[in-house]
Structure formats: C-alpha cells, structure tokens
Symmetry: C2
Subunit: 217 residues, 2 copies
DNA sequence: ACCTGAACACCGTTCAAGT
DNA sequence: ACCTGAACACCGTTCAAGT
C-alpha cells in the first residue's frame, strides 16, 4: 500500500508471508498460465528477489500445493440437509466453476495430487452426503470415483481443448483439407468448437445422477 | 547392432530418424515418466548429442506430439459392424488400457491437445459409429464429450492418485491423525487405495451407455 | 530475522564449425 | 548431409554474506 504523506510518497510493502506468496502465484497463473510461473517471476511480482521466497516456503512444490488448496477453499461445501441429488448437482457445478476460473488447477492436480487440507474437507463432505443418502461404502466409492472422473474429465477437456481457441482457424483449414478422411469430425467440428462446457458438464451430470439413483435401493 | 567380425567388434548404429527418436522418447517416458524426458537424456539414450536431434525434428514439442500419436496408433479402432454399445464398450476399455500402460500420455494430452493424425482417425471412427447408431449430431456431440470426459477423467485420476502409491503409508498416518476431522475419507480410504481403476472405469461406462441409450429414440 | 548476489546443475535451442 | 561444442537465456535451489 502507498500513503501520500505531504510531498513524499512512502512505499510500505506488506511483509512477505506464505499467504501473500500463494495469492500472488494464483494471480500470476490466472493471468499467464501455470507454465509461466517461476520463482524469479513470482519474486518480481512481489517486489523481491526469488531467493527471498525460500524464507517463507520450503520450495516451489509447497507453493503449488498451496495454490491447489486455495482453489478448493473457494468451492462452497454442499449442505448435508439437502436432498443428495441436489447436493451433488450443486457441488459439481460449483467445482466446475472454479476449475473453469482457474484452468491451471487441473494440470496442477495431476502433477501434485490433491491431498491438501481443503480438498480433504471437500471430499469428506461429499462422501458423507452419499453415505447418508443410503449408498453402501462400495457404492459410495463408485459414485465418488465416477463424479470425480466426470468433473475432472470435463475440466481436463476444457483446459486442453483448442477447439474453441485461436488456433481453431488453423485447425479448420487442416480439417477441410482432410475432410474426406475425417468426415464425421468435420461434420461435428462446429458443435465441438462452440460448445458450452458448463452445460455439457451439467448434461452428463444428470445422466450420472440418474444412473446412481437407479442403483440405490 | 553389433557384429563380431574376427577379433574386432564393429558397432553399427541404426541411422537416426524421427521414428527412432519418438520410439526412444516413449520408452524413456514409460520408464521414468515424462518429466524426466529431456533432449539431452534422449540424445544419450540414442548414443548421440542432444543437438543432433534437431536434424530430424523441429523441436521438443514435435517429439511430444509424436509420442501422443504413437499411443493413439496402438488403440484398435472399433468395428462399425458391431452394435454401437459393444463398440463403445470395447473401444473405451482399449483406450483405458493404453492410457494405463503409458500414464504420461494424459498429462501430455493436456499440455499439447490431441489433434494428431492418429487421434483424429480414432475420433472420426467413434463419431461415425454413434451417428450410424441413430444419434443426432447434437446427441453424438454430447455422447462423445461424455465418453471422452469419463475416459480422460479416470485416466487422470489413475495417474494423479497417490492412493495406491508408496506414499500411501504416509497418507494413512496423516489420515488416522486427522480421523476425527475426515471420518468419511478414512472409512473409504481402503477402498480408494485398493481399487482397480479398470473395473471402476467399466462400471461407469455401463451407466453412461445406459443413459445414452435411454436418450436414443 | 529477513533479504541478497553469486554460484551450481540443470533446461531448450541457436549457430558456427567440423566431417 | 549429418553431427558436434560452445554459447545463450532461462530454470530451481544452495549458501555465504550482508543488514
């Protein structure tokens, strides 16, 4: 923050700490992608040399884990008093929303796993709701695995796809050149390019919820 | 190969080319993971300096794309004469098998996208089968998106999970310490740790196939 | 207690030089 | 035509030195 005191401007850097470092890392990743995140750039963002970060954080991996935890903290937990179908639907959509807002979190999860505190809190809550709904432990396991896969899968496709990116144009050229070899891909390319991943995800979520429901009871 | 000619051993290196480079890269990634793959190590594997690789390949990205293509080439294409449910099931399982055998391909797909020749051939074949089964273009799009998400999601979880890894022990300690905070996670941890991703995947695949079938006709 | 500069062992990639 | 060594601009991380 800066205070304007008379004619001089006194620059008062907030003291460096773990929280500020991870916040800045999230901001940088949101802006430029996780690949662009380096200790040197992160230091520069915080007005400090890269080496100073090591006073507050063991290494880069701790920062990455902190970023994952930060995102999971922002996903609202499902309400156990709701019907399980509502809880699962609401929570799935909320999770997808965060994965969309922070696309880098998907690849980070793959690199690092997701056993931070916030993701365990989240997982525990969802598992509790499924068990309370009457699913056996095996069924709960199946349901979790399937819901997680569907969610991660869509998030994955959303962040990996270049169907809806700039290089789509180059791809379109490529496809029309190879139209006779890939007629079905060419026919569906517009749908793939313009698709709303959010509603696509919701569509699949309903199929899964129905399928799980049928196996319950 | 080495020929033993009398008292001297003549070492005849096969000439370097794109195919040999990508083959060696796949081998290295299978053994040590994609993170360990560097131009210098790949060169060493081929008995050559890293810089030689650039005579046969534009850059590292071309190698990575080639590795993805290599894996997709090994997935058997579904037979259009089969019932679509059989085709989808068989192909999904075959794809999962390859993603399991080459876990690095999932993160590579996320980094690089998957619009190589082999993956377009694969995608085109699956889309054709869905359309021939009577799905509209919109429904085919939904179905593809959902099947791809489910498959990538399971592959993702399989390669990201440390539930079934060595560090599971450390996690178990952590969980039992925090057992009162995460009772549902602790209760299901054994199931998560010992689960067979293959059969988990198959379980979800059946739910999806049934769900799609219900929306057909 | 916190920050820094120099250094180390790695990257991908370029380029002039070798054969 | 293919391979090489030296070099460049980057990494994450260590460590002794500064305040």
């Amino acid at each position: 923050m800066t205070y304007d005191v008379g004619m001089t401007v006194i620059e008062t850097r907030a003291p460096l700490n773990r929280e500020r470092i991870i916040g800045a890392a999230v901001k940088l990743a949101d802006q430029h992608g996780a690949d662009e995140l380096s200790m040197r750039k992160l230091g520069a963002e915080l007005g400090v040399e890269a080496m100073s970060l090591y006073n507050h954080v063991a290494n880069k991996d701790e920062i990455l884990d902190g970023m994952i935890d930060h995102v999971f903290t922002t996903i609202p937990l499902p309400d156990p008093k709701e019907d399980w179908r509502v809880s699962v639907r609401t929570t799935g959509l909320a999770a997808m929303e965060q994965f969309t807002a922070h696309p880098w979190v998907v690849s980070l999860l793959m690199q690092r796993g997701n056993f931070g505190n916030a993701s365990l809190v989240f997982m525990n809550q969802v598992l509790g709701i499924l068990r309370a709904a009457g699913f056996s432990d095996e069924e709960t396991h199946h349901a979790w695995q399937m819901l997680a896969s569907h969610t991660m899968g869509y998030a994955f496709q959303q962040s990996s796809g270049s169907w809806h990116e700039k290089d789509w144009n180059g791809l379109e050229d490529q496809l029309s050149r190879l139209g006779d070899r890939f007629p079905h891909v060419v026919a569906l390319a517009p749908l793939l390019a313009e698709c709303e991943f959010g509603s696509e995800y919701a569509f699949g979520l309903e199929i899964i919820i129905s399928g799980l429901e049928a196996r319950l009871g």
